[in-house]
């Protein structure tokens, strides 16, 4: 058992906790750098849009938040699958650490979308497939947090939450392809892996902001994971040693 594959070492909270602590400042710094660069490009360099004028600039928050809201859910579902299949302690903690950030991103996506929709489309909200499926995503996040908080036994909470996450994962392709599959008020995607229908500086501003959101999400998720770890593992030797050391 001594020479197990190295990757498993990081699945142990005792190893993960100090490592995450060392990584957090780097992700925070990267988030600040990417954020400043993205905002500079987006707000000052990128040109005015031919039909939406200056109002389109909310895209630099709206699109990164929307991407992040979908991606975080996929990561949580991945951890849920790992947790259910391999019974690892860490996976439930990771999913739980990501949930509030995912919910925040879904909320930001809906909120900035409403602020954008009113002046451009003429309405804050419309029940089209894109907007409705994103709202369902927000409810999935809130539902997951409520469900895991409502069950006292941590292992059972993780299992129930994991099941909810896995069932809800069908919603992600629905959100992404909704504008292709149905008539929606929301326009189609401007950017995918192979093409973009945006001016180059606009696109770069958006990608930098997306990187900023990534780094921010990783940093806060790691912070939250550390707190959850200490709380759940407070009866173990490593946590006791750590807490005793910090108290002194």
């Amino acid at each position: 058992m001594k020479d197990r594959f190295n990757l498993y070492r990081f699945a142990s909270p005792a190893t993960f906790y100090p490592l995450a602590g060392k990584m957090i400042p780097w992700f925070v710094a990267l988030a600040v750098v990417f954020g400043l660069a993205g905002l500079y490009l987006g707000m000052l360099v990128a040109p005015t849009d031919f039909q939406q004028g200056e109002g389109y600039r909310i895209i630099f928050i709206h699109v990164p938040a929307s991407w992040m809201s979908m991606f975080i859910y996929l990561v949580m579902a991945f951890w849920a699958a790992i947790g259910l299949a391999f019974n690892t302690r860490l996976s439930g903690m990771m999913a739980q650490a990501l949930a509030p950030t995912g919910a925040l991103m879904a909320f930001l996506s809906l909120w900035t979308g409403a602020l954008w929709g009113k002046p451009m489309w003429g309405t804050w909200w419309v029940w089209d497939a894109r907007l409705t499926s994103e709202l369902i995503l927000l409810f999935l996040y809130i539902g997951y947090m409520a469900l895991t908080a409502a069950i006292d036994d941590q292992r059972r909470a993780d299992k129930a939450g994991g099941l909810l996450l896995l069932v809800g994962v069908v919603n992600i392709p629905i959100i992404y392809f909704s504008v292709k599959w149905w008539n929606t008020l929301h326009q189609g995607s401007s950017v995918n892996l192979t093409k973009s229908s945006m001016a180059e500086t606009m696109l770069w501003g958006m990608l930098l902001m997306a990187l900023c959101f990534w780094m921010y999400s990783i940093a806060v998720a790691l912070m939250r994971a550390r707190t959850i770890m200490l709380e759940r593992e407070r009866h173990t030797d490593w946590a006791k040693a750590l807490l005793a050391g910090e108290g002194a």
Partner: protein, 159 residues
Amino acid sequence: MKSRHKKLALIGGALAVIGIIAALVLNALNSNIALYISPTDVAAGKAPQGKVFRIGGLVKEGSLQRQADGVTIAFVVTDTAKDIAVHYKGILPDLFKEGKGVVAQGKMTAEGSFTASEVLAKHDENYMPPEAAKAVDDAQKAATKHVSPSSVSQPKASY
């Protein structure tokens, strides 16, 4: 090790089943999920009779008429195959323009026109500076202008 793989396969299978169920349900609800129907659908009798629904398409070029009061508006929604005349009283969104996308909610009248209670603008996914938009526009106009039998045979360098 074996039970882990079994569990993983079980999760994969369950996900596939959920995916298929979702696809079937969404397929069955297809017409309810669509936000609007096109003028062609209306012409084919797919519009609900005497009920509020939404139509969507492009505002036909040259069809927009404003009454003197400024809020009574008439225009034509087209999907380039069929047209529908729309009457509306109210404020239009800023992006409402001839040749651009529109989604209108309302009812069909007995005369076959559409009385809207709400008009929304649907814009496309292109973002570019005005100069670029103008260049694209000019290029398109030039392209349509030069498509004639005489110009096709001419070498490009001549103009």
